[in-house]
Point group: C2
Chain length 570, copies 2
């Protein structure tokens, strides 16, 4: 809409399109709840007050708040692409997300990012993108693409790109690595997100002095307060795999609340469908004693301010009519969602038209020359480094165990909960394979395989025997990527993820059901982990301590280097 037309409606010269009458307007700007009628015209808010309108919806005293903004999310973790993600979260009140398409970028590079843009078009949600800064995350793995500063710089011109995504390689930042500094320099006038778990003191000073503006990796109040005091905006995260919300809420004070946002980072289908999205975080925050106004600010105007999205995040003339309606301030549960002036969801169901007609052209991404792959681990000593899973944590323990050796080969020994794990490079068919052992998965038999393995997303496989591992691995590849549970030659369950080996092209409810069945199959095989696939996906992430496995081999994250499998006893 032309500005001159908007002014005409704001002045009240002619009837607006829609009046949301008798609202309790949550004014996140002044921190007040004020009775009012909100006038919408096209995608915008024309004004608040006594307006003539073509259509009136009487809100009968319900609360009207700005639509929620997720300050940091990897949509790929929902296992569905942006359009289906939008269909999932919009009915829950999310009208804007800021995403780092980091997972697909590690698989498909710029093509992957463009796919996300394309899929997000014409959806009832605004998807802003932060240019993925760490592709690849480190040199200790093989991923599908390399994005340098000159690859990322052109994104600056895209109105949907707000800046540089979480700079995860914090040792490189602190150390002044030229490649990373070049990326920071390319985006220094825009927003730069951070990621620095546990960083403190002078290293944190250096990280912040580099120009980075946020962090979403805090796990404790003291850590978060140190970072906030030094200038970082804190995104409190409640992901499926990393739940920091309750631990961090005590940090929020009236004095610092405007520098705190909410984000989901990575949330799986079941959590999105059962608990919700940002609305869930808001409800939990309020239940934990946070003032509802503050909770809503952390999900609306705060991220809008941080990301310089002056056109949203508040109910005011000229801003986008991204709005939610709910009845209970102590437990906001949107029963109407407006996006750009359109009623797009009602009573938890999407009512906006769903645009899925676009042909998705995405090349197959599982490229493995199976004739080069060998799962055997020749015994080269008595003791080996073993990855120790810590339930519900991304960090692992670095163990040393005596290996069970059969015919000169180190083998899985499920009786001791020692399973074999391999990571097979799947982008370039290079034949690279990392091999190791893991404790804590608990499979008594069979194997699991998945092409979701952060951040390189190679094919990760864990099993009690090589035959099951081979079956699971081949089946995952045959799906064009996905998750598989196998036992011997039998495939027990599978979750096809043909989009980059990361996402499904099916409705999220189907994906969730398939994943539920796959997890049940794992449990039937003996695993007691809440979600063995998620656990496995982070065993391959070589930027989070302590011992991890990539296609290049075992990584000692504390030493930030590859280490041999075989070692001396402790």
């Amino acid at each position: 809409m032309e500005r001159v037309d908007l002014l005409r409606y704001a002045r009240g010269d002619e009837p607006v399109d829609l009046l949301l009458a008798n609202a309790r307007v949550v004014n996140v700007l002044s921190g007040e709840i004020l009775d009012g009628d909100v006038a919408l015209v096209r995608s915008r808010i024309a004004g608040i007050g006594d307006y003539e309108a073509s259509e009136v919806i009487d809100l009968e005293g319900a609360y009207l708040a700005p639509g929620f903004i997720d300050a940091h999310v990897h949509i790929e973790s929902s296992l569905v692409p942006p359009a289906e993600f939008a269909r999932t979260v919009v009915p829950r009140g999310t009208t804007t997300v800021v995403t780092d398409p980091h997972e697909i970028a590690n698989v498909l590079g710029l093509d992957g990012i463009r796919f996300m843009f394309e899929d997000a078009k014409r959806q009832p949600m605004s998807m802003y993108v932060m240019a993925s800064s760490c592709v690849p995350a480190t040199h200790m793995q093989t991923n599908g693409a390399v994005l340098k500063s000159y690859d990322l710089a052109p994104f600056r011109a895209d109105p949907w790109v707000l800046g540089l995504a979480e700079v995860m390689n914090f040792p490189a930042v602190v150390g002044g690595d030229p490649d990373v500094l070049e990326k920071l320099a390319a985006f220094e006038d825009l927003v730069i997100d951070g990621h620095c778990p546990g960083l403190s003191g002078k290293d944190l000073m250096a990280y912040i002095a580099s120009g980075i503006g946020s962090d979403h990796e805090c796990t404790e109040v003291d850590e978060a307060l140190e970072k906030l005091r030094l200038g970082l905006t804190i995104f409190i995260r409640e992901a499926t795999n990393a739940r920091n919300l309750k631990a961090l809420l005590p940090m929020v004070t009236p004095e610092n609340q405007q520098r705190i946002c909410l984000c989901t980072d990575d949330r799986q289908p079941a959590d999105l469908l059962d608990d919700g999205h940002i609305d869930h975080l808001v409800r939990v925050a309020i239940a934990e004693g946070i003032d509802p106004m503050t909770a809503i600010r952390m999900a609306t105007v705060n991220p809008a301010s941080y990301f310089r999205l002056g056109d949203r995040g508040a109910i005011a003339p000229g801003r986008r009519a991204d709005l939610i309606v709910f009845s209970d301030l102590s437990e906001p549960r949107p029963h109407m969602v407006f996006r750009g002036g359109d009623l797009v969801a009602r009573d938890g169901s999407l009512i906006a038209p769903s645009h899925t007609g676009e042909a998705r052209i995405l090349r197959s991404t599982v490229n493995i020359n199976w004739s080069e792959i060998d799962l055997a681990v020749p015994a080269e000593g008595s003791h080996a480094r073993v990855i120790g899973i810590v339930p519900d944590q991304l960090v692992t323990e670095s163990l040393v165990e005596e290996m069970t050796v059969v015919d000169g080969q180190a083998v899985a020994d499920p009786a001791r909960d020692l399973l074999k794990m391999v990571v097979i490079e799947r982008h370039r068919a290079s034949g690279a394979i990392g091999k190791g052992f893991v404790r804590g998965m608990g499979l008594e038999r069979g194997a699991i395989a998945s092409t979701v393995a952060h951040d390189h997303h190679n094919l990760a496989v864990i099993g009690a025997d090589d035959a099951s591992m081979w079956t699971a691995a081949r089946a995952a590849a045959a799906l064009g990527g996905g998750m598989v549970v196998a036992d011997g030659e039998a495939v027990l369950a599978e979750v096809p993820l043909p989009l980059a080996g990361l996402m499904s092209n099916r409705p999220i409810a189907e994906v969730r059901q398939a994943l539920d069945l796959a997890i049940e199959a794992c449990h039937a095989l003996g695993s007691k982990l809440h979600d063995p696939f998620m656990a496995m996906s982070f065993l391959a992430l070589e930027v989070i301590p302590t011992l991890k496995l990539t296609d290049q081999g075992l990584v000692d994250v504390d030493r930030f280097e590859l280490v041999p499998l075989w070692t001396e006893p402790d």
Copy 2:
């Protein structure tokens, strides 16, 4: 400094330049006061903590806060150019100002703005500029330049330009005037300041919907709260001529404080020298009961956030080392001021080198063809419109009085406090002259003249007789602009303002003394106004109600049109 070097110091690899030890650090980010040592390297803060340093200053528990930011100031109103203004306000803790060079732009257009940039260079203060949006303010006067959107757009590329300056012609905005909307569109992705005294309801909705982000014209809490709730950031102003601070402070709440800034707008030499600058506003705010943290935030991080100046406004790694030191939190009076890491002022005195060697090339701006000027007012009726001065207000009353007529000419009648006023066009020697009468100036004899007459800055003259008026007017012109008091043929006092007829090229203390003497001379002639020159300068401003006089004649501001001098009795 290269970012990579800064990181080295932040990490503590080598000694920083300066450590400000044992400080009570005013952390405006978290709203806390925390003991700490602040490490500076070159122009930046490297970190807070235990750093080796080449030099240590022990602050012995004094408070360390970010340097003050004036969110909106017309430097010309100090009657000195930017360099001398900096020398005046830096010792008072101001390290950054956001200025609208609106006065000189109305006289000299782009040349005037460039002069301000040039004069601000190499001073111990950052002068950011908002591109002047209203040159000329209206069509009902003659000024020295016209700036269209295509004149202003190139300023976008200047790193010292933050956006578009106060859009004063609010009726044009509300009405959707194409010329104004074009300017708004040219700056819509940057910051756009507003100016909308008394605007309310739907007209305010339209004004805000146009994309404007601030207002500094509020005089009452209700007005300010309405504007804040609808999205405007409120600049609380304490100018020489418009003192809104105490009236507006009750609006400040913990919930809305982050959307409120302090500004001075227009402050004359005596106020700057006697009371101070932003430091004065901070002290008054605290004295009025505002929490010191909140008062300091309104003068530091709040304007920095609003203007997207992420490199300042807080004490944090990587930000500019613009800092003040003071002893009493209940009455902050900076005894040290650092700007970009340099100690630039101590105990209220500037110690930074003063760069005034640059030759200022500025053409003479008083161009009047005196042979065309005639002060006589032929009587064309019995009653005339008369401007009624309201002491200490910019608004005037619109009176109707019976004129005293001598020899067919309407003349001043000091016995009835009816003085003649003329505004002589002084930019183009067009011969245009507006003539009228004024009540409330109180001169019993003599006349005053000044080339400071908002915003067109034509030559305004008020007197008890034509001879005195003629003397004052000619003398002001002979100075190349300035303020003059005359009686008959005698010049009693003068304040030379040769820089655009707005500013002096002498030290501010001399300017202040000359102005004091001129005001004393006015008082000796019978005026009881606090500052007759300031009062006169706003009698010519045709955008503030009710009756004003420009070189085109009398303006009825409410009707927004020129009106005849002669009228019917009420």
